[in-house]
């Protein structure tokens, strides 16, 4: 069994109710699978390509059985050539198809920056909207079990600086399905940021096709004393932290922006207006992170509303260590969020 699967199987089954209720509970992984399955069925222009997408494991189960169902022209394995594959997918998108390209590790995305940044993201602007690139790039961050410096990165922060690229990072099964469908039907390239530690997370998911508007955040827990904005997997840690804070008499509001770019500034400012305190939890390294950008927007648009300086809870500016001891020290947890939140509220 692959090591991250071992790690993920060890995680608690974390249930997130989300902003949709119902009686149908799905895991994050199955919600992604369903979104792609239904999109392949609905639109003949949709196809999936990437390293190992048609193998027995099916990208941690998210593409399993889709080749058998839709054929090798719609779901196919590729050579290990991340940069050109990104360009090939972009070219197919320019010719009217809707590719979903999958990088099983976010680290591999770094090899594709020329085609993603220089080409796919700029094409619409450079040619005045005459050539569109409706491309979805799925990228999955891993963590733990000694994944090390090259199999665990969360580099979404780097990509915030790329004009023309939309970035979504759903944290719940409901958002995973809805944002996958939104990303597929969007006419711009969308980077779809996933985290392996979310795959087992469960939540309510409708069976029918639905989309979640790109650029709109959601409040997962209402509170009065502090706003915690969580990115991707950090939503799980933030919700755990909020529960603990409640016991300590602190009412935390937990906001998930869901789309990292362009992000929902309104939901951020409105929440800070209510609480006056802002903590941002991100899965990436601190400097130049998504958290940094959220903090910058808060400073520009909500400075007068803040009672305390903004706090970022991120990974330190080091490569990911492999040692389990160092790894534990590297990743911020619900405990860290609690500690910092208490300081902001009580001190």
């Amino acid at each position: 069994m692959p090591w991250t699967t071992v790690q993920v199987e060890k995680l608690d089954n974390f249930f997130i109710s989300g902003d949709f209720t119902g009686n149908r509970i799905l895991s994050y992984r199955d919600a992604l699978h369903e979104a792609m399955d239904q999109s392949l069925a609905r639109d003949p222009r949709v196809f999936i390509m990437g390293e190992g997408v048609d193998d027995v494991a099916g990208v941690f189960g998210t593409t399993k059985g889709l080749k058998e169902k839709y054929g090798a022209n719609r779901v196919f394995d590729t050579p290990i050539a991340e940069n050109s594959l990104t360009g090939i997918a972009a070219g197919a998108a320019m010719a009217g198809l809707r590719p979903i390209l999958i990088h099983a590790r976010m680290d591999f995305l770094l090899l594709s920056f020329d085609q993603l940044v220089n080409h796919a993201s700029k094409w619409c602007y450079m040619f005045g909207g005459q050539v569109k690139v409706p491309l979805v790039v799925r990228t999955i961050s891993a963590r733990g079990w000694g994944s090390g410096a090259q199999h665990s990165q969360c580099i979404q922060g780097m990509l915030m600086n790329v004009p023309g690229l939309k970035i979504v990072a759903p944290a719940t099964p409901y958002d995973a399905k809805g944002l996958m469908i939104s990303s597929i039907i969007d006419n711009s390239p969308v980077l779809f940021v996933e985290h392996r530690w979310l795959y087992k997370t469960t939540g309510y998911v409708p069976e029918e096709l639905y989309s979640i508007p790109i650029g709109r955040g959601v409040i997962h827990r209402r509170g009065e004393d502090i706003t915690i904005v969580a990115v991707s997997y950090m939503l799980v840690e933030a919700l755990k932290a909020a529960e603990k804070l409640q016991q300590a008499g602190i009412s935390a509001e937990v906001v998930d922006l869901r789309t990292l770019k362009p992000f929902d500034e309104k939901i951020l400012v409105e929440s800070v207006e209510k609480t006056g305190r802002l903590l941002i939890a991100d899965t990436g390294c601190k400097t130049g992170s998504v958290a940094s950008e959220i903090a910058a927007v808060a400073a520009e648009k909500a400075f007068h509303l803040l009672k305390k300086p903004v706090k970022r809870v991120c990974c330190p500016d080091t490569p990911t260590p492999t040692s389990d001891v160092l790894e534990k020290a590297f990743y911020p947890t619900a405990e860290d969020i609690c500690t910092e939140a208490v300081k902001l509220v009580k001190e």
């Binding site: 022209n73 050539a81 090939i88 070219g91 320019m94 010719a95 939309k166």
Partner: protein
């Protein structure tokens, strides 16, 4: 090849040459405020390959793309307006000389990153295969692009998937001032094809009939589902890498080398051939030139009199509708 097509190839080469000479002449007035890369001397490659393409076939060019754009039937007025960065340009003044586009004739945009267009053209070819149509893609690039990973990654993928794409390498021997032999082992570009599992040829890129012959067969193989081809066309740019400068003589390209290639001018060779065949005569040459000068005058006048973009358009088109 029928007489009309021969004349058309001659006309296209002459059109490229005269447009680029006019660009060269106008550049000093500083109204064309964008880097330009001229193809003078290399006209036969684009003309010979594009003559066999349909309007709905795709091409992808490079920073040195005027010739390909013209040969594929791109709108000349919009191209010149783009060089003048006007709102009426093919990319509304957002692209410039290095980023030409005309989706109506299958030109989906040229890239100024060396080798950057090769995956894109491989991708449109993938789309043709997945959509089950017979549209062909031709990707143009220079010898410098064979240094890049995208060349190798894309050729491998195209051969693996038997994609309808023709890779046309315009080997003019120089990447800016760096000779091919400073970057690659001698004579190896077309040979990569064999290992990737496709046909590869090295041909005289200054002989438009040879280019046309090899391109025609490669394009036909694409239409028949027989997969990609690499054609390395040996040619030579007369001007320097960028702008209107000359880069011949001490410290630059050897004068003897330059003189040799100028003596092999693709247009002169082809017009002499056509004259000997009785297809072309002095009167027809004069008529073609007059027609071209008229087009050029119209295009430059259109461009120079067109409005520039307005600052309030700055944020348009970051994302698609």
């Amino acid at each position: 090849m029928e007489k009309s097509k021969l004349i058309e190839m001659y006309r296209i080469m002459r059109l490229i040459r005269l447009i680029e000479q006019r660009i060269n002449d106008e550049y000093k007035y500083d109204e064309i405020k964008t880097p330009i890369h001229l193809s003078i001397g290399q006209e036969a490659v684009a003309a010979g390959a594009c003559i066999h393409l349909r309007k709905d076939d795709y091409i992808f060019g490079t920073h040195r793309s005027h010739a390909q754009y013209i040969a594929k039937g791109g709108d000349i007025k919009k191209m010149i307006a783009e060089l003048y960065l006007r709102k009426t340009g093919c990319a509304y003044g957002r692209g410039g000389s290095m980023h030409l586009v005309d989706p109506d004739v299958g030109i989906l945009g040229s890239s100024a990153i060396v080798g950057g267009n090769i995956p894109l053209g491989t991708g449109t070819a993938l789309a043709s295969k997945l959509q089950g149509n017979d549209r062909v893609t031709v990707v143009f690039f220079g010898d410098g692009a064979a240094d890049e990973g995208t060349f190798h990654e894309s050729l491998n993928f195209a051969a693996l998937k038997k994609l309808p794409v023709v890779y046309v390498c315009e080997n003019n021997f120089y990447a800016i001032n760096s000779h091919q032999l400073a970057r690659q082992v001698d004579d190896n570009i077309y040979k990569w094809a064999q290992n990737y599992g496709m046909l590869g040829y090295k041909i005289d890129g200054n002989d438009v009939l040879e280019v046309s012959d090899y391109a025609e067969k490669a394009i036909l193989r694409c239409r028949n589902g027989e997969g990609p081809t690499l054609i390395e066309c040996l040619t030579y740019r007369w001007k320097g890498h960028i702008g209107t400068v000359d880069d011949v003589g001490e410290g630059y390209r050897p004068k003897e080398e330059y003189d040799y290639w100028v003596s092999k001018c693709p247009i002169k060779r082809f017009s002499e051939y056509l004259k000997n065949m009785g297809v072309l005569n002095d009167e027809l040459i004069k008529n073609i030139d007059e027609e071209i000068y008229g087009l050029i005058e119209e295009a430059f006048s259109f461009a120079q009199n067109s409005p520039k973009p307005s600052p309030d358009e700055l944020l348009d088109f970051v994302y698609a509708d």
